[in-house]
């Protein structure tokens, strides 16, 4: 077995902030996220030979992390996410006043999404992956990612009662919530 190169190690180190962010997004728990990142690094190290140099290391690592997350979740029977009661703290979100949406409210809304929708909207809207890459990471079709992102976005708008997203045409939510469109 070939030794792990310095370059690979350096790249792993460089990917850690992104891995942690993705892990927190999935687990909604900082400690569990770091354990997940640790597992991911060990796995990546062990199977470094299966990484094709020149391809997207970040996507490869995210795939490992995601697989690890779901396999842990299956093992623990879903207590992974709910155990600390973070999820159960359903919050009453006030309607956003012309874009003055609090980050804490947003975090709470994100927690309420099903995992598949949350990971899709994070990968596409925040981590900077293309739909194709996200589909690869999640092991599903591009159309599935698109539909999850779309549903996640609609759901977040509902939870946060966001108006003013009307550059895509009025939707039922904004029409219902406000009569004064945000600029």
């Amino acid at each position: 077995m070939a030794a792990v190169s310095q370059g690979f190690k350096t790249d792993l180190l460089g990917a850690i902030p992104s891995l942690r962010a993705f892990a927190v997004s999935l687990t909604q728990n900082a400690d569990k996220a770091d354990d997940l990142v640790q597992e991911t690094l060990v796995k990546a190290w062990d199977k470094h030979e299966s990484f094709q140099p020149g391809t997207n290391l970040k996507a490869w690592l995210f795939t490992i992390l995601r697989n690890e997350f779901y396999s842990q979740m299956r093992k623990r029977g879903r207590e992974v996410q709910d155990s600390d009661g973070i999820m159960t703290a359903r919050l009453a979100v006030h309607p956003a006043q012309h874009g003055q949406l609090d980050l804490k409210d947003f975090r709470g809304a994100l927690e309420q999404l099903p995992e598949d929708q949350r990971e899709a909207i994070i990968l596409i809207g925040a981590s900077g992956f293309s739909y194709e890459e996200a589909a690869e990471i999640c092991g599903c079709a591009v159309g599935t990612i698109k539909s999850r992102v779309s549903r996640a976005r609609t759901r977040l708008q509902e939870i946060l009662k966001i108006s003013g997203e009307d550059e895509y045409g009025p939707d039922a939510i904004s029409a219902q919530v406000t009569s004064s469109p945000a600029s």
């Binding site: 070939a2 962010a21 640790q38 690094l41 190290w45 994070i122 596409i124 539909s147």
Partner: protein
């Protein structure tokens, strides 16, 4: 496909065509918050345990190859 039906039910067909660049772009409140949320996580200080872990893994390697 099943997903497609769901899309149409969600009334998301028009937004889908816009792709992430638009639907979650800077003009979208959701898009902005999403990036704000994620960027805060990315810029969080990385605990030492991770570089220590990689050093441990490196030491455990049987044959070191420096490049």
């Amino acid at each position: 496909m099943k997903d497609m039906t769901k899309d149409i039910l969600a009334g998301a067909e028009s937004r889908r065509r816009n792709g992430s660049g638009d639907a979650l772009g800077p003009n979208s409140e959701i898009g902005r918050k999403l990036k704000q949320y994620y960027d805060a996580l990315v810029s969080d200080d990385v605990p030492d345990r991770f570089s220590q872990l990689l050093s441990q893994l490196e030491r455990a390697e049987p044959a070191q190859k420096k490049d």
